[in-house]
Amino acid sequence: MELKNTALDETHKALGAKMMPFAGYNMPVRYTSGVEEHLTVRKSVGIFDVSHMGEFVLSGPQVLNHLQFLCSNDVSKIEVGQAQYNCLPNDQGGIVDDLLVYRLDHEKYMLVVNASNIEKDWNWISTHNQYGTHLQNISDDTCLFAVQGPLAIQALQNLTEVDLSSIKFYRFQVGHLAGVPNVIISATGYTGSGGFELYLPAHQAQEVWDQIMISGEPHGIKPIGLGARDTLRLEKGYCLYGNDIDDSTSPLEAGLGWITKFNKEFIGSEILARQKETGITRKLVGFVMDDRGIPRHGYEIMDQEGSIIGKVTSGSQSPSLSKGIGLGYVTKEHASVENSIFINIRSKPHQATVKKLPLV
């Protein structure tokens, strides 16, 4: 498969980024040091080019019913100007994808999906379109920049008339930014450090990026790669599709019960309702290493006796804690907070403790 570039490809290379194939795109993994970039977002502000993410626009008189059937969360709860974290369950109780749903207008929504799942989601949504919904894939024409960190407002406010401090968490406004009209300015993100995600036309992306870098300069803004994006989300315990959740994991096991609403019928709702009633047998937990060592995707999790009780789904060194951290599925009886578990690293058990999320 040929790799796609984002509109900012030349800019990333000029900034000295190490580029890496990710979900079919050539993406910046880091510009300088992943640890430094991580701490920049926690302490000040950073900008990510995450234009690989997919965007679909769905509209029509039956669009809400369509989304209610596709999604686990209750889409009727969101107003125009509001976004919602959601998942698309499959008919086996697993997850097709996790996504954000934006209500753009009364009968118009935008879905933001994982880059690796653009085609799969498109087919899934189209196949289940008995609602006459008009579907539009705007992924190639849309750029997404995430400006994240405690100084995000300061870095961006000069560039827009929109009062950024008035946008509440998981709300958005559409306005001019850096002279570009109709930018979706959304108080969302995947870092847990606050800030905004900006959706804009790809042909104007360069101008917006350059202006944000200038406007953010006094606040120490830095470009941030996907490496830091992953450690930032992991410290907060946010799931990554393909690692922590996939077609075979249930949203209830993954700790996504809070976005699984049984007051309506949706694909897989019967299976999931039954699972809720009988109880799940395994659960996604966060953990912090007590012994020195770094957990990695696929490592076994064991109990004190050395019996296998689960598997690591995401793991890394936490730049904030300077310790190994991870997410993994363990059997229900080992999932309690403060329970000791053991990660099998190079055939040796390394002790870790189950912790409440977020880990940082």
Binding site: K18, V29, S33, G34, V35, G227, I294, R296, Q317, R346
Partner: protein
């Protein structure tokens, strides 16, 4: 890219500093290797006192995002492990050919003709 002329190299991106009489060597990973790995956060080298064959593992280097095995460039006895790396693994990033050295060995076999010159290594990584 820093590739010192006085060192020998392997295709696994290790460098070797041979003593004048070819009996002992200091070993680490190259500037290229540390850049590819990113922030190094943990070295696990538990082979002090062991004789290890060329091509076998002598330890593991963990970066934030990746883990990579370390291979013996030559057959020899591991005499010393760089103790400074326990608390400061970032020395491998900051000074890969100096304070970031990893092990010192006594060679069991003094045939070092398989090692790459700086020139060869430069060509290998396309620098």
């Amino acid at each position: 890219m820093n590739i010192p002329e006085n060192l020998k190299y392997t295709k696994d991106h290790e460098w070797v500093l041979l003593s004048d009489d070819n009996t002992t060597a200091t070993i680490g990973i190259t500037d290229f290797a540390q850049q590819e790995l990113g922030d190094i956060v943990y070295l696990e080298i538990e082979t002090e006192g062991e004789e290890i064959n060329e091509g076998d593992m002598f330890g593991t280097v963990e970066a934030v995002k990746t883990v990579s095995d370390l291979f013996m460039p030559l057959t020899g006895l591991v005499n010393e492990v760089n103790a400074a790396l326990v608390d400061a693994p970032e020395l491998v990033n900051d000074d890969p050919y100096g304070e970031g050295w990893m092990i010192k060995i006594t060679l069991s076999d003094q045939d070092t003709t398989e090692l790459l010159s700086a020139e060869d290594y430069k060509e290998l990584i396309g620098a």
